[in-house]
């Protein structure tokens, strides 16, 4: 059993583009749930919309990278309006139902065989990364040290991914200290009270839904850039992973989603490495390597339950804030 190797892989996960994508998506539902009180259980849908919104125009119409980013954002804005217009006037639970259902609809639509020419069907799409790699400003070579040793292309995607995370975080920070953030947080507490003070609650909820959705779609782009698009990835599991990361870090915080995503991704890799290591060293004999892949989710589930019971506000959340029954 090679502890060095296991720790190396886990530490490498800290800065991986997948972690950046998770963090970005978690910032998105942080805006939705943590600040505005919107229950979006369809963040995977926003990520899928973002991914396909980027990949399809690139492959079909040879869109340059910037234009593909724009179509991805535009598609998620449209999706947010589609979800928000009928549901945001209703009680919060309706949005939850509609988002969870529409994320599944998106996944089924992109995997239908009828659309294979456009979306690649169940097999997904690949070979769209060329134009992004071509923009790489870093010269060929090896960068970094220890577990964070990257090739030029690996470095490029990480720089872009984490820059987006940084931009999103700064944006959220600026908004939430502003009067706009105050109105949105007020809506989380009590819509009618905010309405009685002359604020157009519906418009604010829509703005928050769009903003978080755009972060979700950018997360989708970062998620697929180093690999291929696989519709099977955008199931409800992905949404709930992101929820877990958000709650782990603290919902209405700036650092919460980022650190939550880092811890989650690292733990997932670490537990996988340890379990597989123990199995190959014949210390654990009663489970197979494939079973280990599933068992780590159980372990993480148990850890998270303990966390939610003993630290419900997450790592960065304010305990005082949760001590009221509001």
């Amino acid at each position: 059993m090679d502890w060095g190797q296991i720790l190396d892989t886990a530490a490498g996960e800290l800065l991986s583009p997948v972690t950046a994508a998770y963090a970005l998506a978690a910032i998105g539902i942080g805006v939705h749930f943590g600040y505005a009180g919107l229950l979006n259980f369809g963040q995977a849908g926003f990520m899928a919309i973002g991914a396909y919104g980027f990949v399809v125009p690139t492959l079909l119409f040879d869109f340059p990278v910037w234009a593909a980013f724009l179509t991805s954002i535009a598609a998620s804005v449209l999706f947010a309006f589609l979800l928000g217009i009928p549901t945001l006037r209703l009680r919060a639970d309706y949005l939850a139902i509609v988002t969870i259902a529409s994320a599944e609809i998106v996944r089924y639509v992109v995997s239908t065989t009828g659309l294979t020419d456009v979306t690649g069907g169940a097999a997904g799409l690949s070979g769209f990364n060329g134009s992004f790699t071509a923009l790489n400003p870093f010269a060929d070579g090896i960068y970094g040290f220890g577990p964070w040793t990257f090739t030029a292309n690996q470095l490029w995607i990480r720089v872009v991914g984490w820059s987006l995370v940084a931009i999103a975080s700064v944006l959220v920070y600026l908004l939430m200290r502003s009067p706009w953030g105050r109105v949105v947080k007020g809506i989380r507490e009590d819509e009618d009270a905010v309405r009685s003070l002359g604020k157009n609650v519906y418009a604010y909820k829509m703005q928050a839904l769009v903003l978080g959705g755009v972060f979700g779609s950018l997360a989708g782009v970062i998620y697929v850039l180093p690999r291929a698009v696989q519709p099977a990835n955008y199931g409800t599991t992905l949404t709930f992973f992101i929820w877990t990361m958000l709650l782990l870090g603290g919902a209405a915080t700036i650092w919460g989603p980022i650190v939550g995503a880092m811890i989650f991704a690292t733990l997932l890799t670490l537990s996988d490495g340890i379990l597989r290591g123990l199995i190959s060293a014949d210390i654990i004999t009663f489970i197979s390597g494939t079973q280990a892949g599933q068992i780590r989710f159980m372990i993480i589930g148990a850890v998270l339950m303990l966390l939610v019971i003993f630290r419900p506000q997450g790592i960065f959340g304010n305990k005082k804030e949760l001590s009221f029954n509001v």
């Binding site: 908004l175 502003s178 009685s196 003070l197 002359g198 903003l211 509001v326």
Partner: protein, 305 residues
């Protein structure tokens, strides 16, 4: 009651249900609201006087709060029109009603628990450019207005004795303090008409006195006040005008001491309050009078059948 025509300085003509006011701030016509087969509100005509404290009273289920919700845009009527300072406000969304200067509070207080008391107050302010998604990003565009409204909020908090709590979460306040906060928050926008839904409900007697004081002060600052209350005791002390609703209709209105003696009012209250004191009304023994009215009413009913 005598047949002589009663007049009052607020009223243009004779006093009676739906009477014309000299200077009305709200005029409502034919407002109805039904829930299934139940007609909750059926107000033919009512006018609310300006620069006065008007109480909207009535027994439980009289439709006071529903009428209140309709006027403030929190519910939509089946039929009806009403105007506020001459502008029609029927079917206008709640936030626009509030922006026009008609600000309400709620029967069950709606303090925003996980915001600080000060932030609650600042939310009440208007014309804060930073509430726009794009200007919010650039602090210099809104920090000046923020300073102005913070100063105003602190002044109001001091008046309502909440200043030392300004950094606490609103959820940590007591029930009475939340009522005060809600009233103070409504004042942040300098409303023309402030609508209080049962401001005294669930508040201890000492705080009730201070709430009554605050309501009187609103009037002296030139605001008009309309408040809902189902307890007649409270109403007598502070209101200039009382409108009585029962079963969705305006059954009586007038100055408080007169309304208390109106048989229609006693009648309206009898069902719900038959075992409680109706308040120490001046003049004849209210209980005996009420019994007489009830007997007359019963006789009339029998005659009709």
């Amino acid at each position: 009651m005598s047949d002589t025509i009663v007049t009052h300085p607020l009223v243009d003509g004779a006093v009676g249900p739906g009477c014309k006011k000299v200077d009305p701030i709200v005029v409502a016509d034919g407002v109805t609201r039904t829930f299934g087969g139940l007609t909750a509100v059926d107000v033919a005509h009512v006018e609310i006087p300006r620069h006065a404290i008007t109480a909207l009273i009535g027994p439980n289920g009289a439709g006071k709060t529903t009428f209140f919700n309709l006027l403030t845009g929190f519910d939509k009527p089946n039929t009806g029109e009403w105007s506020f300072e001459g502008h029609s406000l029927a079917r206008v969304p709640a936030f626009r009603v509030s922006r026009k200067g008609m600000v309400r509070t709620f029967q069950l207080t709606k303090s925003l628990g996980r915001l600080s008391v000060l932030q609650n107050m600042l939310l009440g302010a208007t014309k804060q450019p930073g509430e726009n998604l794009f200007t919010a990003l650039i602090k210099p565009l809104w920090s000046k207005r923020e300073q102005a409204i913070t100063a105003k909020a602190e002044e109001l908090l001091a008046r309502f004795k909440l200043l030392e709590k300004s950094e606490d979460y609103a959820a940590s306040l007591s029930g009475g303090q939340r009522k005060l906060l809600e009233m103070a928050r409504a004042l942040m926008s300098d409303p023309v008409l402030i609508m209080l839904d049962e401001p005294m409900a669930g508040v201890n007697p000492a705080l009730t006195q201070s709430l009554l004081g605050h309501i009187k002060q609103l009037k002296s600052e030139g605001m008009s006040v309309l408040f809902v209350e189902h307890d007649m005791h409270m109403v007598r002390h502070i209101s200039d005008w009382v409108i009585v609703m029962a079963e969705g209709k305006v059954v009586a209105e007038g100055p408080p001491d007169q309304v208390m003696n109106d048989p229609a009012v006693i009648d309206a209250y009898l069902g719900a309050h038959h075992d409680t004191d109706l308040g120490d009304m001046t003049g004849a023994n209210p209980v005996i009078e009420a019994k007489e009215v009830a007997a007359q009413h019963a006789a009339k009913k029998e005659g009709a059948i």
